[in-house]
């Protein structure tokens, strides 16, 4: 078909088409190179602005637990702890739920039409703006945490994770909302990993007499495991970088805490809060914190992508 048109068209036409194709190629090249250049540019300019702080505090920036712009002491350990803690606890909640939904949606428990609707609704969670999650957290989650927080600190306060003081704006509140926010990521990627498990494996499992649940837990989940791990890592990256909802809910405290019920702070929240009025060394220290956050999320996302690629390869191998 393509050959015949090329033969019948005049040389002029052909050149025009050739030119259009070249132009398209150049444009796509420019677009993709621009993306890479922008990323490098962002990292470099943050690095440049962060340099005075890097020179002044070096590695101690990461282990020092005092952040006090007033005294020019900058350490981000409490914020690293808050970032990892809130994101980690959110995953602890979201992972079992997300994988359960993924299994439910990839099996034929319900007619396809119903499954499609559920899948659509879960993925719609990703479309809600994070400030709306924040407001919802203030209106709904905070009162719940307030009413349970006091009880938990009284009965279980001897455990460091339930240590007082209990406040509504706390690591727990932020984690609960974050869990909901990362649920679509976990569900969507885990579902496609489960769907991608070759039919032959499932049929083989049934053939040797396994029940449906044995097939799910002993064949499907292990085969899809790398995909689920990738989903978890990508969700972790998303949770770490989340700013608005977390800043509205976590209590923005620069003090180091291990308690889920106490206010904490995250790197992203720190930046959002303090950048506007910062000057001098504080700007540089905030840039250093931004650099840390960018590199952490980049690393996490790269790790997630690598695992995801590896999975696709293994599954292709089984086929």
């Amino acid at each position: 078909m393509a050959d015949t048109t090329a033969e019948t068209s005049t040389g002029d036409d052909f050149r025009k088409r050739r030119f259009r194709f070249d132009l398209f190629l150049v444009l796509t090249w420019v677009a993709s190179v621009a993306t890479v250049v922008t990323l490098v540019w962002i990292v470099l300019s943050i690095l440049q602005a962060a340099f005075p702080a890097i020179a002044a505090s070096g590695w101690s920036f990461f282990v020092n637990s005092v952040w006090n712009p007033n005294r020019n002491i900058y350490g981000v350990f409490p914020f690293l702890n808050g970032t990892a803690g809130s994101a980690g606890f959110a995953l602890l909640l979201a992972l079992p739920l997300g994988v359960a939904i993924a299994i439910f949606l990839s099996e034929d428990f319900l007619p396809i039409a119903v499954r499609q609707v559920i899948r659509f609704v879960v993925e719609l969670l990703a479309a809600i703006p994070s400030v709306v999650y924040g407001l919802w957290g203030i209106a709904v989650i905070i009162p719940i945490v307030q009413s349970w927080g006091g009880f938990l600190t009284q009965k279980l306060g001897f455990l460091p994770i339930f240590a007082p003081p209990a406040t509504g704006n706390s690591m727990l509140t932020a984690s609960l909302v974050l869990a909901l926010m990362v649920l679509p990521t976990i569900t969507a990627i885990s579902r496609s990993a489960l769907v991608a498990v070759p039919k032959a494996l499932r049929e083989g499992s049934y053939a040797v007499g396994a029940t449906r649940w044995e097939t799910i837990f002993k064949v499907l989940l292990p085969t899809a495991a790398p995909g689920i791990v990738a989903a978890t890592i990508l969700a972790f990256g998303r949770a770490m970088g989340e700013t608005m909802a977390v800043a509205m809910l976590i209590g923005n405290s620069p003090r180091l805490t291990w308690s889920l019920l106490s206010p904490a702070g995250t790197l992203a929240g720190l930046l959002a809060n303090q950048f506007g009025e910062a000057s001098g060394m504080q700007v540089s220290a905030l840039m250093y914190a931004a650099l840390t956050l960018v590199l952490l999320t980049l690393l996490v996302n790269i790790a997630g992508e690598l695992v995801l690629r590896h999975t696709q390869k293994t599954i292709a191998g089984i086929r």
Binding site: N68, P165, E277
Partner: protein
């Protein structure tokens, strides 16, 4: 036909150009402190209604950003709750004139259902924000409130998580009355609080106080009034308990002594019996020299309007009108702008 439409287009362009030059407007851009922004917007609205040839913008982006923009020459004027330090002034090559434009009190709003007219001694409110007083029925609070039934609720201090002029004024006051506070926390636009939760902006703190039983937080008087928050009477230097009102704020401002060379001072701890302890000016930052005559004239007109007629909107919006004496000093300072 073709020529005809071309002519029409040409004459249209010419006409619109003429119309444009006839209504040539003088534009002034300002940015800075969020606290006085509602009042400045009101001034701008009223002022440009009377003089539509002048167009003024003011963006409430925060004192720090305002000062940065002002230093870089991006704006024609700026607003700041913390004025400008000598170091910051030295960086502006056109020179700087500081004009106190309005003033406000900072109140301690609390959430303690059933308890109204709470009185807080100096010892009590410093102790609360240092994290030393943790229960509402603490002896230090009960002593000043005989007959009031204080609950056994935990105190949750609510603070500003962002850098702000409110932080600066509040911590400056606490540092002035408590050596412990000065050594442990200190004064500044961003400080590290030893206890409590923090929210972004006056509205963030307001939300925290409203939602948390047992909370106490510092917000601008106007915010507390608009949001119907209950706020405490504070003990001043003379030992009297004073509620924040425009009158008690004005009594505080009257005690302020400006140095002769620059209109910059904070009434950190007034002595008068009727003075509310935490009140502050907020400043307009102008350059000493402007290149464009029409901008200079427009700006002078606008600031003069704000200092005189504009002051009547202050009380209505929750600010403290400037004392007459200060207005006089401001007008004198404004004359030095060229």
């Amino acid at each position: 036909m073709k020529i005809n439409s071309f002519r029409v287009a040409l004459s249209l362009i010419a006409a619109s150009a003429a119309a444009y030059s006839a209504s040539a407007q003088t534009k002034l851009n300002g940015a800075g402190a969020t606290f006085p922004a509602p009042l400045y917007q009101r001034w701008i609205a009223e002022f440009t209604k009377a003089d539509p040839n002048i167009q003024i913008n003011y963006q409430g982006v925060g004192s720090g950003t305002g000062i940065t923009n002002f230093t870089q020459g991006i704006v024609n004027f700026a607003g700041s709750d913390a004025a400008m330090t000598d170091e910051q002034i030295a960086k502006v090559k056109q020179g700087v004139v500081l004009i106190p434009a309005t003033a406000g009190s900072i109140v301690l709003a609390y959430n303690l259902p059933g308890v109204e007219n709470l009185k807080l001694s100096r010892e009590a409110y410093v102790g609360i924000f240092l994290g030393k007083i943790t229960k509402w029925n603490d002896a230090a609070i009960a002593k000043a409130n005989p007959g009031v039934k204080l609950p056994d609720t935990a105190i949750t201090p609510c603070e500003r998580s962002d850098g702000s002029g409110t932080n600066f004024v509040f911590t400056k006051h606490l540092s002035a009355i408590s050596p412990d506070f000065k050594s442990q926390v200190g004064e500044g636009t961003t400080v590290t609080w030893p206890a409590g939760v923090a929210g972004k902006g006056n509205d963030g703190v307001t939300a925290l106080v409203k939602q948390t039983p047992g909370a106490i937080g510092y917000v601008e008087y106007g915010y507390a009034k608009n949001n119907k928050l209950t706020f405490a009477q504070l003990e001043n230097k003379s030992g009297a308990f004073v509620a924040a009102t425009p009158e008690s704020g004005a009594a505080t401002l009257n005690t302020t002594q400006f140095p002769s060379e620059i209109l910059r001072a904070w009434p950190s701890d007034p002595e008068n019996e009727d003075a509310y302890p935490i009140a502050t000016f907020t400043w307009l930052l102008l350059y000493k020299k402007y290149d464009k005559k029409e901008q200079l004239d427009a700006l002078k007109k606008f600031v003069t309007y704000g200092l005189t007629d504009g002051q009547k909107f202050a009380a209505e919006l929750g600010y403290i009108p400037l004392p007459q004496e200060v207005v006089g000093k401001c007008e004198a300072a404004l004359k030095s702008v060229e």
